[in-house]
Amino acid sequence: MTTQLEKNRRLYVPVHSTESAHASGLAVIKAAVDGYNIDVSDEALWQASGFSGPDLQANQIVDTLTQSGIPNTLYYLPSNALNTLNKKLPIIVRLRSDNMPNRSALIWQRIGPYWQLLDPEQGRLWLTTAQLEKLLFVTEETGDLDQMNGRFHPATYFSYLESCLNTLRVSPELIASCLKKREDEWADIAAVDAAIHFVQHLVSIEGLKRGQAATNALKSLLSRDTAELETVIPASYWTYKQAGEHNGKMRFRGLEIIQLHGRDPQAPRTARTQQRRVDWNNLLGEPEQLIWQILREDGWVAPTAVVSGLFIAGLGLTFEVFLLQGLLQIGQQLGNQTQRIIILGLIFLFFITLVCLLMAIDSIGRQQGRRIEVGLRVAFLEKIPRLPLWFFQHNQTSNLTQRGYTLRSVHSLPDLAQKFIQSGFQILFTAIGLIWLAPENSWFVLALVAFTLIWPYLTQPLTAQRAFGLAQENNTLSQIYLDALLGIVPVRVHNAENTVWRRYQNLLVKWVNLNLSYFQFVTLVQGGGILISTGLTVGIVLNYVFSQGETASVLLITFWAINIPILGQKLIEAMQDYLQKRAIVQMLLQPLSIPDTAPLRPVLTIDTPEDANPDGAHIELKNVSLTVGDVEILKEIDLEIQAGEQIAVVGPSGAGKSTLASLVLGWQTPAGGTILVDGQPLEGEYVELLRRQTAWVDPAVQLWNRSLLFNVWYANQSDVTAPLGDAIDLADLFGVLEVLPEGLQTQLGENGRLLSGGQGQRVRLARAMLQDDVRLVVLDEAFRGLDRGKRRKLLKNAREFWPKATMICITHDVGQTEGFSRVLVIENGRIAEDDSPENLRNRPTSRYKDLLAAEEAVRTTMWQSANWKRLHLANGNLTVTEPGEE
């Protein structure tokens, strides 16, 4: 039984954005689901799509949409078939980017000459056919005939072909011949398609006329066999072509389309449930929901007081002009001085009370704004450690920094909402006043009010789209500042200022153009609004004058009539300002809506298993593999590290050594296999437990712009008895302390800038040594930047400091590993060798032996060469030495 699909969808495509082209698939799915008013949580979509970092493939989008209640079809069409898709909307296509990977986009409606689409990178766009065609990404895919048949939609394809032939005005017989169903006859389809494209091109450059000439050309081309045709028609005109020498394969070049057919009536409808308390860590959805939740959390008293106050203030502000006008005349009516003073006093009281009322409302708005800002700041900061790693891989640090920075402007959201409501009330009361004064003007007044309210509503989506694009571009621009600042030294050293400048110019020009386009549009919208509303205002006054109204009221009517567009303008400005702030909140809500990878500051309900070694962790990896994107980083790793065992890991750069450590630390989740720590699978609370028992020394460990003391002690502030002196001694930090101007209290600068690389490593080692209850030590290039002697000394200290803890020492200093009882050699994501250094060295062929030999060769042969001039720098003194002297 075929289910009748519901075709109703929103007029405007919901905007879901991403700064990362990798998440565009998810963004268009969310937009489609929202557009059809289907109630599926973001988290459910994440899970259904299997999104783990790389952008979703077409078949993943198809599956997720189907699971979400949107039946759809994936098919291929030639690259110039856009116009055929007019009746097939909505569709998902791929758009191309200049420097980025291509991305998914949702084409939602076509209104007149404009296609309305969601580009997750730029928001909602309205593009002409020519503009959209330039953006469409042309997919190239090679597959077998079954695959091509699976993605061939005969009805759409032949309808496209027919429209092409009709445009060429070829003879009906030829049209019939071309449209003859040729399913499975790919050679024929490919030839007809290429011939039509070729003739179309000739006609478009006026090399051929439509009608008979086109018919003859097409007949001539189609009379040749495919092999001959391939020599005549260039490759770019072929949508389908036989791939190479293999007969069973075809190459497709064109558009990949996912057509959405409607909404499955069984799919749950949107029914947003309201939460009683603001859960800052689970803010899903729109910024309005956030404001609503905050208002509700504070109970009904404050919002009721604010709305009532705004109602009264609107009334007061509208009629104060009436009082002021009366004030000028009222003295003549009152014969008594006392009466005049009393009335003046009461009017003064009215104005003072109104001012107090507005100030109190403003104060509540500011408090609410502060709460939103603080709440978002806390939520944002707490969310960062819980975000999955791929999020950081696909979102620039500058982008996140920019989000944190722009948070400050969020506090004005309630203030803007108040302005909006107050202006609304004022418009309402002014309209009532105008109709009361001159009922004959009712239609004019209603038209003016309707226009004032409808105009911003109609123009809002278009303005919002540009505001969103501008906010995105601001983020991109801020990224280059951060990049340039972080890389200022290499940029200068490599004389790369011009490269940076060129990139900056491109971005700046794009940003300026977007700004210009935004403000031009805003001016156009405002100008148009003012023009029409001024016309209506003049109409109101003239109509009143010509219908012989009261002389004394003309001034009041004119004032109120002029005031409506001014209030409307305020309304528009508040809305536009609100939209900009809304875009900021939306960008903040995006990371907040990502499901957590770990709870924040969890209270552990577990402890180290009783049968486990209390001093060292037992680690076991069974057939573990790890894939990032499409790249398999680790393959079939089988490894057991006994509790208290100290092993060294060596191998070429990029072999997967650090990835192995990150698996053990729980930063990465294996694609296959199991990791057991003390016999327990490494997941959930066990990851947290292991991390608390791990001392991790890695150049990636951040040095904070705080004192040296803070940097070595921040992970262990609860234990004031920790042997700080021992740690400083063993990490060889006394020398560092001597040169720092304020010793332990010296601020280390951004990322420990005051220290050299080797000194920074020693600080990291001291910090690890101050940690309690260490059962696992991970030294990942822990002594990088130190000389050979220091490296060996510090490693010896570390091994003696944690004698019973399990230790994984990852290093490129192969000679350093000879003191270990076991060495792993990792190559191409696999454990190539696993044995004691002696055994590995004594094997006739071993990678370990090769690595040792290569290291030795570099040290003894290359560095000993007489061609090198040796400069020795110690304690600020530079001396020249000869080979063998040092």
Binding site: D298, A305, Q333, L334, Q339, L357, Q367, E550
Partner: protein, 169 residues
């Protein structure tokens, strides 16, 4: 070491709207009272004119503009504010309008009767100067403002070039 309350996020959570809500509530109450006054209070409107004559029977003639006199009706109360010693002795002398005399075009005279017993001990043959104020109406402040802005008042009608006129509301 725990963070002091004043430096923790909890102090922000404890930040409530009470003072502002109190101000809003008081302001709304004051404005509501003010509106009540605007709608329901009564303000006495007076028309005043120059004292022309006063005789020993207490009959007073007051001269007013025809527009002002139009609002004066028999039986309305008023006061006489006499200049000189008599004025200082008597203060405001209460009167009651007896009739409106025919207008001579520019001015209209109002006849009123003094209703103060002590007045009659004075020699009223002398010529006294002063002003007479007649309580012509009691209106709410709203009504007063409306009149000031041209509503409910005999304001002149607007004319257009065609010379058409419309009725005042």
């Amino acid at each position: 070491m725990s963070t002091p309350f004043t430096r923790s996020i909890r102090i922000l959570e404890a930040d409530r709207f009470l003072p502002s809500i109190i101000v809003i509530s008081v302001a709304i109450l004051i404005l509501a009272g003010w509106l009540a006054w605007l709608f329901f209070a009564q303000i006495t409107l007076r028309e005043s004119g120059k004292l022309i004559t006063i005789n020993n029977t207490g009959l007073v003639t007051i001269e007013m503009s025809p527009t002002a006199a139009q609002r004066v009706k028999s039986g309305q109360k008023g006061v006489l504010d006499l200049n000189g010693d008599i004025g200082e002795d008597l203060g405001l002398v209460p009167v009651i309008v007896t009739r409106r005399l025919p207008s001579n075009g520019e001015k209209t005279q109002i006849e009123a009767q003094v209703i103060l017993e002590s007045f009659f001990v004075y020699q009223t043959d002398e010529t006294y100067a002063g002003t007479g104020r007649i309580d012509v109406d009691q209106v709410s402040p709203l009504n007063l403002f409306l009149r000031s802005t041209g509503q409910f008042l005999g304001a002149p009608q607007l004319t257009t070039s065609s010379g058409n006129t419309s009725q005042n509301r």
